[in-house]
Structures are given as C-alpha cells and as structure tokens.
C-alpha cells in the first residue's frame, strides 16, 4: 500500500514542480503506462506475445476522434466507447490467437501492426486518410481552477489510476493465477480444469481495452490522430517499455512508460538514429542479464535486502526467467 500511495502523491505534486514542457511529456507517460500495462498482463502474466498492440491503440484513438469530429460526442463519452471497441477487436484477435503459439503469434501480430497504417489510409472517407483528424483541445470546465495543460495531466493520470486499479482487481485471485498457470504449464493447467480458451481470450480482450484507452488518451492529449501515429514503431515501443520496465509487474508498466517517453528525447539530441540503437542494445542486454526488467530487478534487490524470497508476479518462472531455466523450444 505504501508504494502506490507514494506514487500517487508524487504524481499529484509533479506538475507544480517541473517545467511545463515536462508536464506535457508526463501526460504521454500516463498513456503509455496504460498501454504497457496491457502487455504486462497479456505477455508478462499470460505469456502471449503481441507485437501488434498499436492496432488497438489506433482503434481507440480513431474511435474517440471520429465520434468527436463527425458526431460531436464529448470526450467523456467517446473514451469508454473507444475502450469497448478495442475490447471487441481484442476478443476477435484473441480468438485467432488461440490457434497461434509463441513465435507464430508474434508474427501475426507484427503483421497486424504493419498493416494498420495502410488500413487507416485506405478508408479515407472515415479516417481522413493521410491527413488524419484534428480535434478540439480538451479544456477544463469553468469550475476547475486549473490551466488546460494541468487539467489534461490530471485527467490522464486519473484515467491511468482507474486503469491500474481495475486491472489489479481483474488479475487478483483466480483469474490472475489461471493466467500465470496457462503461461507456465499450460498442460497441467488445463488438466486442473482451467479453460484456456476463455482465459486467454479474456486476457487479450482486457489488454486490448487498456491499449484502446491509451490510444484514446493519445488522441485527446494531442488533439490529433493520424495513421502514422499508430505505426509498427508504436507497437514495438509498447513491448520495449514492458520488457525494460519489467514485463510481469504493474510497476514495470510505470517505469517502462517513463523510459519510452523520455529516453528518445534524450537520445535524439545525439542523432536521429540513436534512440533505436539505445533501445535495441538495452533490450538485448536486459534480456540476457536482467530478464525481469528494471522493476523486477529492483524488486529482487529490495527483497534480498530484506532477506526474504521475492514474491514477484513471476512466481514459478515466467517467460523471461526461462533464460535461466531451460525450456527448449525444440525437441
């Protein structure tokens, strides 16, 4: 309880102590955190690799945009609908994913991510094609004494808070244990009566809902959506954030979001190609030496300092610590 309370306090205070251009970035950290959380649940806890969550973000973002632009819907109505739409797509993709394992799922979702921008560009009459859709800025109602940017910041983090709380609720108890069991020992899990089809599809759907909300937040914060916002790079960014932050913990989503928002800003000072090199090398290094990511690694250090065996979400092993445990991919 102490940890999250501390985080909430920091987030509440931050806009007043940092320069305003950083507040702008922090809004995006909130959006990324929600999206990455989806991957933490789907990939970290349930073992299904998705390289295509940018597609769900696209659906979420464009749903809000189209509802606002073409039909005049206010954002507070559009965002839940965006979540619903992404959730439905998540069910569909999840059902397809049932037939694909490991590397094949990665392949199919990778292709989904690449196909998304051209899909969006093709249906120009709905999506506005290349040029995208411009939206109105989110302005605070008169009775809230905040500037527009601070208002968007608090709205974003409030939504993130709801997303994290809801997710914690969703994965507590039986559901979360079933997800992890399906990840670690699917055959044993099934023989214990866990229906893999239901749980895996639900995991996909929930992670898609989160990604949809993240995409909607992107749209509202930027007041603009375009096909190239939701390219392959976005899907990869989400996965990079999850892995670097800590793929199986909620904290990892937060840490990862901060990394993927701020690291490129710093690395771009060197060169346009630098963020890619840093990301790529970091991914490889983390995978080889610190598979739990930063949050996982810190958790382990803290637990060792308290001289207790760490009770991380990875529990019996998980996909990433199998680097140490041998789980051969071929006979």
């Amino acid at each position: 309880m102490l940890g999250p309370a501390f985080a909430v306090a920091v987030i509440a205070v931050l806009p007043w102590v940092v320069p305003s251009f950083i507040v702008f970035d922090l809004i995006y950290v909130a959006a990324y955190a929600i999206g990455i959380l989806g991957l933490v649940i789907l990939t970290g806890m349930n073992g299904q690799i998705s390289l295509g969550h940018g597609a769900f973000m696209a659906l979420g973002g464009y749903t809000v945009a189209i509802l606002a632009h073409a039909m005049g819907w206010p954002y507070w109505a559009g965002v839940p609908l965006a979540a619903l739409a992404s959730g439905l797509l998540g069910v569909v993709v999840g059902l397809v994913a049932l037939r694909l394992a490991g590397i094949y799922l990665a392949l199919a979702t990778y292709s989904l991510a690449i196909a998304t921008p051209s899909f969006l560009k093709h249906y120009k009459s709905i999506t506005g094609g290349f040029g995208g859709i411009s939206l109105d800025q989110l302005t605070p109602p008169a009775w809230i004494p905040l500037g527009p940017q601070h208002f968007v910041y608090y709205v974003a983090w409030a939504i993130a808070g709801i997303a994290f709380l809801a997710s914690a609720f969703v994965v507590r108890g039986r559901f979360g244990r079933a997800l992890r069991a399906l990840r670690d020992q699917p055959i044993a899990a099934v023989s214990f009566g866990i229906n893999p089809y239901v749980y895996k599809t639900l995991a996909f759907a929930w992670s898609a809902v989160l990604a949809g909300v993240a995409g909607a937040l992107f749209a509202v914060a930027t007041a603009y959506v375009s096909p190239d916002t939701f390219s392959l790079a976005l899907s990869i960014t989400l996965l990079v954030g999850a892995v670097l932050g800590g793929i199986a913990t909620f904290w990892g989503a937060l840490v990862g979001a901060a990394i993927v928002e701020f690291l490129p800003l710093v690395a771009q000072q060197i060169n346009n190609g630098a963020p890619g090199v840093v990301y790529g090398v970091a991914l490889i290094v983390v995978m080889l030496f610190v598979p739990d990511g930063i949050a996982g690694g810190l958790h382990r250090i803290a637990a060792r300092a308290r001289r207790r065996t760490p009770e991380i979400a990875l529990e019996s092993g998980g996909p990433v610590s199998a680097v140490a445990v041998n789980q051969p991919t071929r006979e």
Binding site: S118, G273, V281
Partner: protein, 293 residues
C-alpha cells in the same frame, strides 16, 4: 495479354525477392526453431554497406561481392554474440532479442547514413527487354535470374556438400550430431551467416526499386513471412514456391482488383498469414506436427 504477361513477370520478380527472404527465414527456423525478426533489417544494413562501397568508387559487382562476404561474417558474429545466450530459452526471450537486433540495426543505419531516402544503383541495364513482342523490365528479369541462381546454389550446398549435410544434421538432431563430432554451435552460426548472405542479395536486388532507406525492408519482410508461412515454415522448397505464388498473386490482386488497390496489399498478406496459420499451419509443403501430451 502483354499487360498480363508483364504483370506476371513483375510479380515473379518481387516474388523471387520474397522467396529469397523467406528462404533465409526458413534456414534459421530449421536450425533453431525461431523466426529471425531482424532478417529484414540485416538485409537492409548490408544493402547500405553495398551503397557505401559504391559511393567510395568501387565498381558495382566488386562492391556487391565484398558486401556478401561482410554479410556472412556479420551473420556469424551476430549469432555467436547475441543469439547464442538465448538459443535454448523461451520463445519470448528469442523474439525480444531478435526484435532488439531489429531496432538496433534500424537505428544504426539511420545514425550512420541518415533517414533520407537514397537512390540505389541497379546492376542491370535500364532498357526494356523485348520478348515475344512485349517489353519486360531488365530489372525484373535480372532479379528473377539472380534470385533463382542463389536459391539453386543454396540447394546444391545443402544437398550435395558435406558441410551442408552437417548443418542439416545439426538442425535436426543436435545431440546425435555432437556425438559424431559436429560442432553444432558453429553450424548454427553458419546458418545465420548464410541467411545474412541471402538477405544481402535480396536487399541489393530490391533497393533499386523501393529506394534505399532504413525502413525499406519492414514491409517486404511481412511478405516474406507470408511466403514462408504459406509454403511451410520448415520447407525451403515451400519458401520459394510460396514466395513466387505470393508475388504474382499480390501483384495481380493489386492491379486488377479495385477493392484492394495499393494500400491493402499488406493487409492481404496479413490475411494470408492468419488464414494459413489457422487452416493449415504446416503450409503447402510442411510436415504436420503432432505432439503427444
């Protein structure tokens, strides 16, 4: 009629590129059961190397030859340094490592050569070839010939040489091969080297058409995935056949079917991947695997 023939030849040309890349994917999949997400970026990077060599004045074919050698060494090095630690780890670990390679190579190419699109010299004459009254692009025909020659050489290598046999053995029966004295680890590295060579050749063939930029392979590799999946991810023959079929199909669909046009060709490739994986995961030529529980 001539138009159709031209479209088919064009389709075969892109198809043979898909076939080459798909073959590289199959090569690595057969040796270690993983799909190398970085295959396209490795090809892209070596193509930039070729470009650089031509820029400093090397004659084209010498530059290409040197590039192929560099690609081989690079592929071997990458496998030994980056992939070896995760060779036996879970699918997720390997996906992430190859993805890391993807991102790093993309960034590195951008860093060194910038993100501005560059033209790439073509080794083939630009005047069209007249065959039976129809004009065919020499580029298309040249690509088909080079790609098929590469594939034929690969096939000969694996089927007829002792080293090729050793590599096949190491891929199928690693433990037994070790007993026989085959250095399985190095066979895997060789596999990566050869895959890199095939990728380099594909990149050089395709760059004159799609123009050189760090992101040039990202869409092509999707088609290569589709080709490999269609043909059967374990089958080299399947990769070639799948690639050619896919190239022609996508080209014809894109040209003659209004609803698909240019932008949805990728979506069509995606649909093929998903459909094949659902209906017949082994593809056209793969073996159907059954696992006892």
């Amino acid at each position: 009629m001539h138009d159709l023939a031209q479209q088919i030849v064009s389709g075969l040309a892109t198809g043979s590129i898909f076939a080459s890349l798909a073959l590289a994917l199959v090569l690595i999949y057969r040796s270690m059961g993983v799909i190398n997400f970085a295959q396209g970026e490795m090809a892209m990077f070596t193509t930039y190397v070729a470009w650089q060599l031509v820029q400093i004045g090397m004659p084209m074919w010498a530059a290409f030859l040197l590039t192929v050698i560099v690609a081989f060494v690079g592929g071997v090095a990458l496998e030994r340094i980056v992939i070896r630690p995760v060779e036996r780890a879970s699918a997720l670990s390997v996906v992430i490592v190859t993805l890391g390679l993807f991102i790093a190579l993309n960034g590195l190419a951008g860093w060194i050569w910038g993100f501005v699109v560059k033209p790439f010299p073509t080794p083939f004459p630009t005047t069209p070839l007249q065959i039976g009254g129809a004009g065919f692009s020499a580029q298309d025909v040249g690509v088909i010939v080079v790609s098929l020659a590469t594939l034929a050489l690969m096939s000969l290598f694996f089927q007829k040489t002792k080293l090729g046999l050793a590599m096949r053995a190491a891929a199928l029966y690693p433990e037994q091969s070790r007993v026989l004295g085959i250095r399985v680890g190095w066979m895997l590295a060789l596999g990566w080297g050869l895959a890199a060579v095939v990728g380099a050749i594909s990149g050089i063939m395709i760059a004159p058409v799609v123009l050189l930029d760090p992101n040039m392979m990202q869409t092509e590799i999707v088609y290569a995935f589709a080709a490999a999946v269609l043909g059967g991810i374990e089958s080299p023959v399947g990769a070639v056949v799948g690639g050619l079929i896919l190239g022609v199909a996508i080209n014809l669909l894109g040209t003659y079917v209004e609803a698909i046009g240019n932008e949805l060709r990728l979506a069509a490739a995606l649909a093929i991947i998903v459909l094949v994986l659902i209906v017949r995961p082994a593809g056209l030529f793969g073996r159907v695997a059954v696992q006892r529980v």
